[in-house]
Symmetry: C2
């Protein structure tokens, strides 16, 4: 159903406006009712639902770009760093992304810690990205083998939700612990 017809001009405008309004609302506050988003975009809720199946689908769309970018990182990191360093950097990059705004953290948490089918694609993509990292590390004997990306993803899920004072330090610590834990059973243990 994409591109059966190229989308009428007003429709495209509204879709864009909705995404912009949602992005604005999410990045800042983290939530926002569909009503609020529609109002910001100067359309009615019905229009919102013409373009996005559910509120969650809108959230997913808003963060798709950024998640895709995040998922592209492992391949890039692996060309510039040793696999273990690439893994470490990626985990910290994730924390960094989660920190850009309440919304991004929540989106990442939804992807990592829920099983909502709306995020299936993003979840699969991130799991695959992590798989690559882990496989490269294992092949080099720097990371224990037998761990799937999905597992690591899930382990990281918790750190993206809350925004208490000092949150980021904690997140970095957790990422570091996980990283060390992943190296612990490696062939070249050290």
């Amino acid at each position: 159903m994409p591109s059966s017809r190229p989308l009428r001009a007003d429709a495209r405008r509204n879709r864009e406006a909705l995404l912009a309004a949602a992005r604005e609302a999410f990045l800042a506050d983290g939530d926002a009712t569909v009503e609020e988003i529609a109002r910001r975009a100067e359309v009615a809720v019905g229009t919102l639902y013409r373009h996005f199946e559910t509120r969650e689908a809108l959230v997913a769309e808003v963060y798709r770009q950024e998640v895709a970018e995040l998922c592209a990182a492992p391949a890039r990191l692996l060309t510039h760093h040793a696999p273990d360093e690439a893994l470490r950097t990626f985990l910290l990059l994730l924390v960094e992304h989660a920190a850009v705004g309440r919304g991004m953290g929540e989106a990442l948490e939804s992807i990592m810690a829920t099983d909502s089918p709306v995020f299936d694609d993003a979840r699969d993509e991130m799991a695959r990205a992590l798989d690559d990292l882990l496989a490269a590390g294992a092949a080099a004997g720097l990371v224990r083998s037998g761990i799937s990306g999905r597992v690591v993803l899930r382990a990281l899920g918790g750190i993206c939700g809350l925004r208490a004072k000092g949150w980021k330090d904690d997140a970095v610590r957790i990422a570091t612990i996980l990283y060390d834990g992943l190296r612990y059973g490696a062939a070249n243990h050290g």
Copy 2:
């Protein structure tokens, strides 16, 4: 407000019935509307709300016993095992508890991964229990120091929510990775 007066007989009965109904509903299905719980207990929702501030408070109460038990474990484990072994066992014990029913997992997740004030007590208690474990481990040079129980708690949060096939294996793996990560930077590194 506890024990200003010993609670009228019918009130005690209803309170008990509500807890029983909720326990039954939660352990099996994981959720249940307040309406459903009230119906099961053969009282009206108003009665439910006389006894419990919010739905969450009811959840907290249902699992208080079990959480308290869980929190008592570290002290016991430390008298029988080396600190590192005690830590490992506790992490696995947590996974075990999360596995007893959808509800218990959800409750643990709420405690560990949210900041709902309803779970403040449980959260504090668990963090303290973990602190003890970590401090003992650090004192013996078996566990890296500088990690607070709260951080570990948060890291574990993600593993208690989902119930996909093979979930428990994943949870055990994550717990193991965390455990290894916690030992990684220890004084007697090995």
